[in-house]
Amino acid sequence: MKTFKIGGVHPEENKISAGAAIKSLALPKTVVIPLSQSLGAPSVPVVNKGDKVLTGQLIAQGNSFISSNIHSPVSGTVSKIDDMMDASGYRRKAIIIDAEGDEWVDTIDRSPEIKPEMALSREEIIARIKNAGIVGLGGATFPTHVKLMVPAGKKAECLIINAVECEPYLTSDHRIMLEKGEEVMIGIKILMKALAVDKAYVGIENNKPDAVAHLSKLAEKHKGIEVAALKVKYPQGGEKQLIKALINREVPSGKLPIEVGCVVQNVGTAFAVYEAVQKNKPLIERVVTVTGKAVTNPSNFMVRIGTPVSALLEEAGGMPGNTGKIINGGPMMGKAVNSTEIPVVKGMSGLVLMPGNEARRMTVSNCIRCAKCVSACPMGLAPYLIAQTSEIGKEEMAEDLRVLDCIECGSCSFTCPSGRPLLENIRMAKTKVGQIIRSRAK
């Protein structure tokens, strides 16, 4: 079975919510919509305090090249535009809407029928995706329409669908594949058309045999879509690792996947693309996994953007008393949050609740030069050396060690028997080297 070659680790999978069907969450009374929900520039509000809005109505616009539109997830009144705490732990600008019912914009097709026929042209597809505010739903939140506009001089040869879900605990993509398989397939077809490619590979790790079987069967009806089961290994969901695993091409250091003719999209994004293009529905809701070893009902919720995280936790049976850490995302790359009053955003794939005893870090001891971090690094770096540059305050040395290649997957810290904060130190070196390179360009 295929997988990537260099490095990788095997964290405990803990996919305890895999059997929980996607459940729609009741509408919240108030939604908080942060204006920074994608990579790039924050969106600019197009509504004012006191305005009435409908569900699906544009409320903030992406005006820069890399930015995205935001739509109201409920109908109601804009109560204020203010700084609010978001998942980053900082207070940032957000639109707050008091919900009054759920009245949708009438151009959105809310019928349950699946719509397979593709009438739109390439340009129209990309425009719809852009208008609908679709961003990468795997967590990176890169605006999807930007990825579909292949830069001049480059050519897309194939589409890669990331359905790996290599993070432990998370199951939202898994459930989407099982329950929205047909829509996902059409979404993939749309993305293929937008990129003018006739080949798509769907990479699924083999710990989801039901999803592999289901999509493989559906793919029989869709020419050019190949579903591949991959050997379970973290971080296979890293796009460079996934491309290597599926078609054995290596994206050169510092370059994007398009360099080897690939565009990578998440499977959840493919579903959102289907809804945007076929149903004219903007990205106002997503599937969020709420899970943890002590959680009463580990669940996968279809939830409107802007819903407070506390509402999800309540629906999953409440926050267990021993909770010591709440992770936005998976335990390998997710970010710990400091409050349950933050809103669900486009990039939130799951919430993992960890008991207090697991939330604590190991006591740090000396590096014993076991080289496990070197073997684990999927980018072929020497994590112990890079981390050392920031420990001794000589981050500039990290540039030659190719710190910028680091994908921050955390395999080094995961595997370190001395519990050393390798990734933290590498991140600091990475930031510093980034500054050095930018100042050199001036």
Partner: protein, 333 residues
């Protein structure tokens, strides 16, 4: 909100490897070899092992507590390994005070001087052994014959090791066939029924420990295999050139400290290279040096010196043999 939430950088989970698990894993891997040494050399072996381990722990504890003023970490198992390896490297009738000196040098000089676990450039047990070998050459090279009397501490009946027999025999000008009648059979050598250090005896027990470490992912195959392979090929080539002057390669594998060195000492993660390619270079270097010393050097055995010399080259090897980077070679396939 009732709970205070921990906020820390990712990753939020950790694998099952810890320093303690690794170090105690090595101790477990050493148990078969220790048992064999107790079987063949009796109470003397037991005493030396106990004293060596105890001394290592005490010295490390005292230095950490009173000199470095850091919380002692002797329960991490690394000092226990040094103690056991030190004992496995000496003859069973070595005066007890000598192994205490060796242990003080191993931990006090070779390990703690550099800052403790992970910072020492040389394998502490080997430094201790070589210190003893140079300081007490007679006691360190009078090897009791195994199984003669397990209950006495200092055995009067001593004899040379297999490698010593060969070296002396060749020096006297004896024919190889004469020499071969004096060394133990290969079956005896595999089981460990021959003169030598506590741990130089049974290849089977040492390989068993090595397999355990491989399964537990404490070591990889790279160093032991390239080390042993190089010794085999090098001595094999010599044997093919002149079988009357050079003993056969199987003998070289089973005799002396090669198995102990290749499996337990050269693989010491602190003092070996960080990349697989570096480990291969390291293993080959150890193998070449071992044969050079065994065949042409003044000592009959060269494992300790070979590994120590290669230890010194590790920083250079790390500089020269970097990990294979992703995206360096562009392949379109």
């Amino acid at each position: 909100m009732a709970n205070l939430l921990t906020v820390s950088g990712s990753p939020h989970v950790h694998g099952d490897q810890t320093v303690r698990r690794i170090m105690w894993g090595v101790v477990i891997a050493l148990i078969p070899a220790m048992l064999v040494s107790f079987w063949y050399f009796g109470i003397g072996a037991l005493l030396l092992t106990a004293v060596a381990v105890f001394t290592c722990l005490v010295v490390e504890f005292l230095i950490q507590k009173f000199l470095l003023k850091e919380p002692p970490s002797i329960n991490d198992g690394s000092a226990v390994i040094t103690g056991i390896l030190l004992a496995l490297n000496v003859p069973s009738n070595l005066p007890v005070w000598m192994i205490i000196v060796g242990a003080v040098v191993a931990i006090g000089v070779a390990k703690m001087t550099f800052g403790g676990l992970g910072k020492n450039p040389f394998n502490p047990a080997l430094v201790g052994r070589v210190f003893m070998l140079i300081s007490f050459p007679v006691d360190m090279t009078s090897w009791p014959t195994p199984l003669v009397n397990r209950t006495v501490l200092v055995d009067a009946i001593t004899g040379p090791t297999s490698l010593g027999i060969v070296k002396e025999g060749l020096a006297k000008g004896d024919s190889m066939s004469d020499i071969m009648t004096q060394v133990p059979s290969y079956a005896e050598m595999l089981l460990g029924n021959m003169g030598g250090s506590l741990g130089e005896v049974s290849a089977i027990a040492l390989i068993l420990g090595g397999l355990f470490m491989l399964v537990r992912r404490i070591i990889t195959w790279h160093i032991p295999l390239t080390y042993i392979g190089t010794v085999f090929l090098f001595t094999g080539a010599l044997y093919l050139i002149d079988p009357t002057h050079y003993i056969d390669p199987v003998f070289h594998l089973l005799a002396g400290g090669l198995m102990l060195g290749a499996i337990f000492m050269a693989t010491d993660m602190v003092t070996s290279p960080m990349t697989k390619s570096g480990m291969v270079v390291f293993g080959i270097g150890c193998g070449l040096l071992t044969v050079l010393i065994r065949v042409w050097g003044a000592y009959p055995e060269g494992v300790s010196f070979a590994i120590l010399i290669m230890n010194a080259l590790v920083p250079l090897i790390n500089k020269g043999f970097k990990p294979k980077k992703f995206g360096e070679v562009v392949k379109n396939g």
